[in-house]
Every structure is written in structure tokens, then in C-alpha cells.
Amino acid sequence: MDTNHNRPHYINPYLGGVLLGLLVLLTVYITGRGLGASGAVKSTVVTTAKIITPAKAEHNAYMKKFISPDHSPMYNWLIFESLGIFFGGLLSGILFGRVKKFRIEKSPKITNKTRLLAALAGGILFGIGSQFGRGCTSGAALSGSATFAFGGVLVMLAIFGTGYILAWFFRKLWI
């Protein structure tokens, strides 16, 4: 048996970037709009709130925009796109030998708990940031700058610039 596909390997970042750009073009061609992911999280949050505290969710100025009597907030293209990202990512992981036992990727010097808490905190901050910035890396930065939107370029600089500056302080979570 060929064991080559059991060795994890990653795509060349430059090639990955070009492919991602082509993906945005293809998405615009097929769906008439760009990529996005934070919207799926938003739909999930609204749906959860609607199930747990329906009255509060319907009176919340932000959430009520996404609640309709006709269909669930989950019936949204972003949800299906995110399912595609999950299963597509999994398929890629299998093909390139990155799927093994369930594991948490981190620096060996920190505990799983630290890593998970840091990831949760990062996720929350990114969620808040994506709502202020009206979109996440894929929605605002990638799809936005692909249309030459100034806001998209600003978001791109903000996300990657801040990441570049702050990475040094958080490097111990990884290396």
C-alpha cells in the first residue's frame, strides 16, 4: 500500500491563495454573491435564542431582523455553505493524510484546556469583530476586496495587520 498519503502535507500557500481567489470568482458566478461564514454562526445564534427565549429573541432589535414566520433562520445559504466547508475540509484532510485520531493542535508546552479557552476567546473576539466590520475574513476581506470595495481592503489590512503585530505575543499557544 502506498503510505505517502498517510504523511500530512499542506498546500503551497501561494497556490492556495490563487485557488481561493478562483473560488471567489466561481462563487460569484454560481450564486451571484461572494463567500461568507460568520453569517452561519449568526443564524445559529439567532435560532438557539429563538428556541430558548422566543419572546426575548423577537424583541431584540438585532435578532428580530433575522426572524421570520415563514422559515427558520437556519434555512439560509450560508448554513449550507458552512456545511460544505466542513465536509470539504474533512475530505481534503483525508486526502492529504491529516485526519487521524481526534486531537487538539497546540504547542506541547500548554495544556488542552488553555488551548481550548484561548480558541474560544479568540472566536468570541473574532465574532464581535466581524459584526463591527460587517463581515469576516471571507465575507468582508476576501469577497469585499474582490469587488474593489475600499471597506474590504481596510478589513483585510485590519485583520492581517493586527494578526501580524499580535502574533508574537500569542506565539506560545502554537510553538
Binding site: 465536509f87 474533512l90 485526519v99
Partner: protein, 313 residues
């Protein structure tokens, strides 16, 4: 006495224009019936082929699921009945032209048979097992001696059970989506495939999983072929049939059907199984989980969508 007066034959609450009487218990029952049929069919098949030793999960361990699935499924069916106390009337007659009669009698035989099958392996699976009564031990010896004829009966009955879960719907000629002869084979294939998925999930033997995976891949391809055929048949049919197909081709069931049933429930697990057979490392639970989920979603969608389809007027 409660009387209801119908001024028009076309507006009967819960029946016309839309049927609104079959909900989750029916979909769940159709799924569990198909699952049990699939498990029992392959248990019988490998015993008849004399491959009992190589296929322990298929012949022994997975069959524990079958009686459980049948009991839960039948309970759901019973829960759905409006006049529960009259269910026994199905057993006062045999009607060859009625799928419900076929199903009722098949279940009447296959349910106890599934218990007997599992019971005959209890001592092999749990060495400390003891039946306590001599008569039970004697019965067990008799079953073990006659296992091959039992396996044949089980295979034949499980095919009837699997087909019947689809024919039950297709006999409804007032509902265009259901009224197609493809539904019987389609439900049978899907049931066999979910049965294999359950076996695959349980099996610990690499060799057994490979055999099961190969058969499952073929079944998934057959299922995809039948689904394409189903829609081709609808689109080449009358206006009511085209309207039924439209629910899945741009209508309200399009996304749920194609995403959850066809892509995530059939195409994706088939890809994963094919990769696994070629030596790639795939999480063991993932393909069976997706197949079972797809099978369940398929029944929910078919039951739900079928009740919406109707004759035009």
C-alpha cells in the same frame, strides 16, 4: 354524535387537497423497518454462504439491533394509529392486494424470528449466558441445527419487509409523488444500505468492513440510479407528476433533499468508503453515520413531500 357536512369533495380537512395525517412516527417506522430488513438480510446471506466465521458483526452482533428497531418502529406505528384498540383486525384477514396486509403479516413472522435469531447466538456472544429452562436449551439446539433454513426464511421475509416500506406509500394512487413503482426497490435498496451502515459501525474486523463497504458502494450507486430514474419518470409523466418532481427541482424540498439525502447521505459517504478501500485513513464512524442520517432524512422528506403532492384541479 358529531356530524360533519362537506359541501365540496375537494376540501376535506387533513385529507384534501393536502394530506396531513402522517408525521414523524411513520417516517421513523419506515426507516427502522428498512434498517432491520437490511441487517437481517445480510445476516441470513452470509450464513447461507457459509461465511459465519469471517463476518461476526454481520451475523451476530449487529442482529441485536434488528429486534430493537422492529419493536421501536412498531411502537411508533401503533402510537400513530387513531383507533389503537382495533389494530388486531389486520390479523383477521389476508389480503394479497393490500400492502398493509403483506406488511402486517410479514412483521408478524419476522419480528419473533429476529428475536429467535439473536437468542440462538447469545451463548456465543456472552459465554456465561444460561437459559435456565431445559425447554429453551432444547429449542436453541434445534434452531442452531436448522440455522440455514432459518436464514433463507429471514432473507426472503426481509426483502418483502424492505420492499413493503416503499410499496406502502406507492399504493397511494391519490398522491403522485408516491404513486410510482420505483419507490419499492428504492426503499429496499436504501434499507439494505442503512443495514450495512449499522453493521459497518459495529464491526471491528478490517476484513469484514471491507466486504461490507464494497457491497454498500454498489447499493449506493443503485440507489442514485433509482433516484435519477424516479425523476426522469416524473418529468416524462403527466402534469401532476411533473408538479410532484418540481418540489425537488427548485421547489421547497430542493435543498433539504439534494443536500442531506443525495450529497451528504449518499455521494459523500460513498466517496469516503471508496477512499477507505484505497487505503486512506477515514474516521470509522463517519460514513455509516452519514448513511444512516441520509436514510432517515430520505424517509422524512418522502413522507412529508408526498402528502403535499396532489391531483390538479
Amino acid at each position: 354524535m358529531k356530524e360533519e357536512l362537506f359541501a365540496s369533495g375537494r376540501h376535506i380537512p387533513h385529507i384534501d387537497p393536502y394530506l396531513n395525517i402522517w408525521h414523524w412516527p411513520i417516517a421513523l417506522y419506515l426507516f427502522l423497518g428498512g434498517l432491520a430488513a437490511g441487517i437481517l438480510f445480510f445476516a441470513g446471506y452470509f450464513v447461507v454462504k457459509g461465511k459465519e466465521k469471517e463476518m461476526p458483526a454481520t451475523v451476530k452482533w449487529a442482529t441485536i439491533i434488528a429486534p430493537l428497531a422492529l419493536v421501536i418502529g412498531l411502537s411508533a406505528l401503533f402510537y400513530d394509529l387513531h383507533h389503537k384498540l382495533y389494530f388486531w383486525r389486520l390479523y383477521t384477514t389476508i389480503r394479497l392486494s393490500s400492502p398493509m396486509s403483506w406488511g402486517a403479516w410479514t412483521l408478524m413472522v419476522i419480528t419473533p424470528l429476529s428475536f429467535v435469531w439473536v437468542a440462538s447466538y447469545m451463548k456465543e456472544m456472552f459465554p456465561k449466558w444460561d437459559w435456565k429452562l431445559e425447554i429453551l436449551n432444547k429449542f436453541e439446539r434445534w434452531v442452531i441445527k436448522n440455522r440455514v433454513p432459518f436464514a433463507w426464511i429471514m432473507m426472503i421475509l426481509s426483502i418483502i419487509l424492505g420492499v413493503y416500506t416503499g410499496i406502502l406509500l406507492s399504493a397511494f394512487n391519490a398522491r403522485p409523488l408516491w404513486n410510482t413503482s420505483i419507490l419499492g426497490p428504492l426503499f429496499l435498496t436504501s434499507g439494505l444500505s442503512t443495514g450495512l451502515a449499522a453493521i459497518m459501525w459495529i464491526s471491528k474486523s478490517e476484513q469484514e468492513r471491507k466486504v461490507i463497504s464494497r457491497i454498500d458502494l454498489i447499493l449506493i450507486l443503485v440507489e442514485l440510479f433509482l433516484i435519477i430514474h424516479l425523476f426522469m419518470g416524473f418529468l416524462a409523466g403527466t402534469a401532476v407528476k411533473q408538479e410532484a418532481a418540481a418540489l425537488f427541482l427548485g421547489g421547497e424540498f430542493t435543498v433539504t433533499f439534494w443536500v442531506f439525502v443525495v450529497i451528504l447521505g449518499l455521494a459523500f459517504p460513498a466517496t469516503l468508503e471508496a477512499l477507505e478501500l484505497r487505503g486512506y485513513h477515514v474516521p470509522k464512524w463517519l460514513p455509516p453515520f452519514l448513511i444512516l442520517f441520509g436514510g432517515l432524512a430520505f424517509r422524512f422528506i418522502m413522507v412529508e413531500a408526498g402528502q403535499i403532492t396532489r391531483f390538479l384541479y
